[in-house]
Symmetry: C2
């Protein structure tokens, strides 16, 4: 064990990420007390019942009192309001960070509310599942994954070093970049993939000539993979797209342009172009497996038989 890094950590929002941070920080033995807040009574009750926090408050302002590390884990749309609310209660020397999927808008919304003597460094662990809520977290979520930190140029170096150390002890590798570059990178590796997944699931659900029942029955042909991503939290994703508009629209433009090339190749029977482009895509998969960012097991290691019998 590495010893206590933060005597008190406050988790503002206790869903998949908040609860996983609690589990992983406990596993590492690096925090003393953990408090939390949620505006939802059921979440507060569940978080206390599971021991994720010693006390779950209704407001963020109550939760941050005496905290040395404050992590915002709510949908990013309410970050500005939370920052405003907690401002008077932040302890001098405390570190405020977050886990939001967009960074430029988050810095814009939070930074102006941070008082002198408190350190703000925005962050984003690239990890998650399609499930949400305090019972969905687990200690291994961040193991081997990357956490991106986007400190402002004048960020306190010691605070940054401590936050890097914290994420490393949760199991992550840490990368530093600007908020703007983060938003471009995640636009293509996360935001546009989610948008496309949401979209095809809805397209399939509204066809007249193919029934919903058929879509579900025959989903093992590839469609079901998209439905996992499309089952992610709608409010969280709404806020991502509202706050990373420029990068998402840019990447989406490229995606649509490239799709037209494939569409024309299909229309005109250009098998050579199809085979070449499909072949190139294979190499990227190999790179991801070599980098330890996905399993090499066929079909993600899904159990081949139906789970409904078990």
């Amino acid at each position: 064990m590495s010893g206590i890094m933060f005597k008190r950590m406050a988790l503002i929002g206790i869903g998949l990420i908040g609860s996983s941070i609690s589990h992983a920080a406990r596993r590492a033995g690096i925090v003393g007390d953990i408090t939390g807040s949620s505006s939802t009574a059921a979440t507060r009750a569940k978080a206390e019942e599971l021991g994720l926090v010693s006390k779950a408050y209704e407001t963020a302002a109550e939760a941050v009192k005496d905290a040395d590390l404050i992590i915002l884990c709510t949908p990013i749309g309410v970050y500005g309001k939370i920052a405003e609310d907690i401002r008077p209660f932040l302890k001098p020397g405390a570190i405020v960070t977050d886990v939001g999927s967009v960074k430029a808008s988050v810095v814009r919304d939070i930074a102006p509310h941070i008082p002198d003597g408190v350190h703000f460094i925005a962050g984003h662990p690239i990890a998650g599942t399609e499930q949400s809520g305090p019972e969905s977290g687990f200690a291994e979520l961040f193991d081997g994954r990357w956490c991106i930190l986007t400190p402002e140029p004048d960020a306190d170096r010691m605070a940054l070093a401590r936050l890097e150390d914290f994420w490393t002890k949760l199991g992550s590798q840490v990368e530093i970049m600007t908020p703007e570059h983060h938003d471009l990178v995640l636009g293509i590796t996360s935001h546009v993939p989610h948008l496309i997944a949401f979209n095809i699931v809805n397209t399939a659900a509204h066809l007249e000539r193919v029934t919903d029942k058929e879509v579900i029955k025959f989903s093992a042909g590839g469609f079901r993979d998209f439905t996992r991503i499309a089952a992610s939290d709608p409010v969280m994703w709404r806020d991502v797209f509202l706050n990373n508009k420029d990068a998402v629209l840019e990447m989406l433009g490229r995606f649509s342009e490239d799709l037209v090339v494939l569409q024309r190749a299909i229309r005109f029977g250009d098998g050579e172009t199809l085979e070449r482009l499909f072949g190139e895509a294979r190499a990227v998969r190999r790179g991801i497996i070599q980098a330890g960012q996905d399993t090499n097991a066929p079909d993600f290691g899904r159990r081949p038989a139906s789970d409904k019998q078990s």
Copy 2:
């Protein structure tokens, strides 16, 4: 064990599906001898070494001699040529079927070559992984999955019943439909999802402002899910798109139309529309899990830690 249904089965093409049929048929104890053919010497050697077939021939014509059940398991682009080649060697009373991902074009390519007294019934097991080759098959691949058969209106009822029984004993559930309806259903549940996956992987690989290395490192944000599907066999998929042009272009048109709605909602900050459409997509996932067509384990049950260490 159910007893031998077919004294000799010939697998024309011994890749993921052909080898899995061999494993599953052996597990069920329903075939006597299994022969096979592949134009690739390495595949023939591997198939014999693994015991998938008693003898692997270079040509389909050699493999079908004395076979009671012949299953075409090559990319569908060569089906017409194979049907022409095997025609003189088909045993009276034999059943010819296939596993191709498109059905109308397959019926068009094969049916004219089937002599009187031989039964042709096209089929498609909705199962697979991103891997290919004779060593990638396994007996459980079809367990709990659907197999669609698309018999012509005058198909022999006894042959159809035997083929249904065969697929049931391999672990599948069987559904009957017309080739044209099959191609529409699979257009949306399989072909368009694959096209989109191939496309986004290539879009990501050709960005100027985000490096390939970054795409790979941060792929756990959603992108990596698409790369699995995009790692599927390029030749097989080329042939699918060349042979299901109309349905794919129709479904792709709907997809692009729907994507424009999301794109506009993002551009104009319409969070209500985004949240509503994202929420609807969740319900489809639940349906798929309830139908036993995917696992309920978070993240497909992927092992959370990186596999590279193991």
